[in-house]
């Protein structure tokens, strides 16, 4: 009898072990901007690099599921992004989707995922209203692990108004640029400030000499740079003898932008940040990314948020009751104990908070001695 019990226990243990070792394969849908305008590609590839490293670490640590990314390139095209998300829902039957770079694309497909009841972890898109427009729905399926435009602009304006008398704005005429400009104008108004010059610039211009001359004439000491071609404002500065402080989108922390602009020229440039490179953990992560991707690694904060987004998704899949989208959503909201690389907290989400980064996690970074460190205010 005792021997039979032992056999039964061993059998059950083996069966359990087998179940654990061969848990169902899970497909995670990823829609990302991997071709099109260079800025979009840099964002998309960097975020995806972080996600892939997180998957490698998860598998190496003996992850509960065998996870596979079903990755599609939306080419920064909203129609394509929508059709890819529909494909992920209907054909690939993924329980969760991550993506994409362009906020317009996310805003186009988020309602589809919300209606289908499939959770979305948006990123690296940054438009403020991506999660807020769904948060009052019960339940909301829209989450995000990325910078939030309003938070970085608020941090920048708090500092800018305090530090400079004359502020100018250069923004692109794309949806993104116009949206950022609107938030900046409203934010400055709320702080009793104003812009001494505003230059809206088409996305494909090659030379900003005329616009920078206008900034110089207006005496702008700080230029808020919200154009996707981050390097353009820097180029005419030395020839027109004008060296204002530049602050802007977190894109200004890209190593690629530094290489294009020049180490000396980018020194002192300020941007929204969520990764403190003076921290040992961040430095180790950067070293790992460099050894993993070599010269293709170009954006620490983007890769860090991609890594953290994937960590959050894997944890939700591990802790969900089942792999049904609704259970994954519930698990996502309850995820806790994340050891994030970026400023993402251990428990990123709650019933009324679907952002990995909240206002208090976003800070200003500055290029100093060839690295981005926290701006001391």
């Amino acid at each position: 009898m005792r021997r039979s019990l032992l056999r039964l226990t061993a059998g059950l243990a083996a069966a359990f072990a087998t179940t654990t070792a061969f848990a169902a394969d899970v497909k995670v849908g990823v829609v990302m901007g991997l071709s099109g305008p260079p800025a979009i590609v840099d964002f998309g590839e960097s975020y995806l690099q972080g996600m892939k490293l997180a998957l490698k670490d998860y598998m190496a640590a003996g992850g509960k599921h065998k996870i596979e990314f079903i990755t599609y390139d939306d080419e920064a095209n909203p129609q394509k992004a929508v059709s890819l998300v529909q494909r992920l829902i209907q054909n690939d039957k993924v329980p969760i989707v991550v993506g994409t770079v362009s906020s317009g694309n996310v805003l186009a497909f988020a309602p589809i995922l919300q209606k289908a009841g499939v959770p979305l972890v948006a990123g690296p898109s940054i438009a403020t209203n991506i999660t807020t427009q769904f948060i009052d729905q019960s339940p909301s399926y829209i989450f995000r692990c990325s910078m939030v435009e309003k938070f970085q602009i608020d941090s920048m304006l708090d500092w800018g108004v305090k530090t400079f008398k004359k502020i100018g704005l250069v923004h692109s005429t794309t949806g993104y640029g116009n949206f950022a400009a609107k938030e900046i104008v409203e934010g400055l108004k709320a702080r009793n400030g104003n812009l001494v010059a505003t230059e809206a610039v088409a996305p494909n211009v090659t030379d900003l000499t005329p616009q920078m001359l206008k900034m110089k004439e207006a005496g702008a000491e700080l230029i808020l740079n919200f154009h996707e071609s981050f390097e353009l404002v820097f180029r005419p500065m030395s020839k027109i003898g004008y060296k204002p402080v530049v602050a802007g989108n977190w894109g200004l922390s890209s190593l690629k932008v530094r290489d294009i602009v020049g180490e000396k020229e980018i020194e002192g440039t300020v941007m929204g940040q969520a990764l403190d490179l003076s921290q040992e953990g961040a430095q180790k992560f950067v070293a790992r990314m460099q050894s993993e991707y070599g010269k293709d690694f170009r954006w620490p904060v983007l890769a860090a948020l991609g890594y953290d987004a994937a960590q959050v998704v894997f944890k939700a899949l591990d802790t969900a009751k089942t792999l049904e989208p609704e259970d994954v959503r519930n698990a996502l909201e309850a995820v806790d104990g994340i050891k994030a690389i970026s400023a993402t907290p251990a428990k990123p989400f709650g019933p009324k908070d679907h952002e990995c980064l909240d206002k208090e996690h976003v800070f200003l970074g500055v290029w100093k001695n060839n690295t981005v460190v926290r701006l001391q205010q």
Binding site: L34, S35, P37, P38, A39, V41, D42, E45, T173, E199, A200, V201, A202, N204, V205, T206, D207, T209, P210, Q211, L213, K214, E217, S229, E231, L232, R235, S238, K239, I240, G241, K256, D259, I260, G262, E265, D296, R298
Partner: protein, 298 residues
Amino acid sequence: MSAANFLQLLLSGLTMGALYALTAKGLFVAHLATTRMNFGQGDFLMIGAYISTALLLAKVPVVVVVLVVLVCLAILGWGLERVALRPLDRLKSKAGEYSWVLTTMGVALILQNTATLVWGKSAQYSPPLFSSSRQDVVRILGVGVFVEELIVIAVGFLVVGLFYLFLFKTTAGRAVRVIAFNPDAATLLGIDVKRTISLVFVVAALLAGISGVLAGPIVTVQPHMGLVFTVKALAVAALGGFANPLGVLAGAIIFGIAESFANYFNSSFGDLYPLLIVLGLLIIRPTGLFGEARADVR
């Protein structure tokens, strides 16, 4: 506007105008001899810029860089004519009258994708050609100009001048003009029409290659940069008149300066105004500013 800013904008406009002139000259010479153009002329420029950037980053001397770019672009121009254009002649009526538009655009797409595969999708910035840093500035009447910009203006005018000499003072140039006048007559005169047409596309590609080398240090290099140059070069050629090489140069300078000032006064639509000027002008003068008022200006 201060006089200094006026001069600054003028020089910026001249720089871009010189680049547009070189690109538009390629369209002009091809159109002159064949009534066809390479709709990937800007993408040829892009390839020139990428090869130049890659070699300069590898610390290859500038003279070697220029030679390599010219050789590569010459092969590309020759290949374009042999692969994407000449077969259409053999097809005669089976190929549509404007099928060359599609084949040259197809080559442009292939070049964009090749550049993406070889050099990646990110934007790049070429090291300076003749100065020690990207910030080397010289002052003209109190206005700062990058050394690279001055070189673009100087080389742009020099190459356009050489091109003019080629067209009017050399046997090959005369052959091009005879073919432009009447290909059958050219054959009767013993001119190798096929070889001359190949030469025309090689010259067009060389002009794009020179533009690419010069553009690398002053604009951002990326796989899709060519389209803007093609569109603006077309506008420039239309503005100056497709029949007049000096008209193309004048059109490019007018376009570049108009663009610079338009961006100063209204940057939201700065690039639009020069194109509107071209459209307006074409309504009044369909052959362009310096074109001849005949249906077939050849």
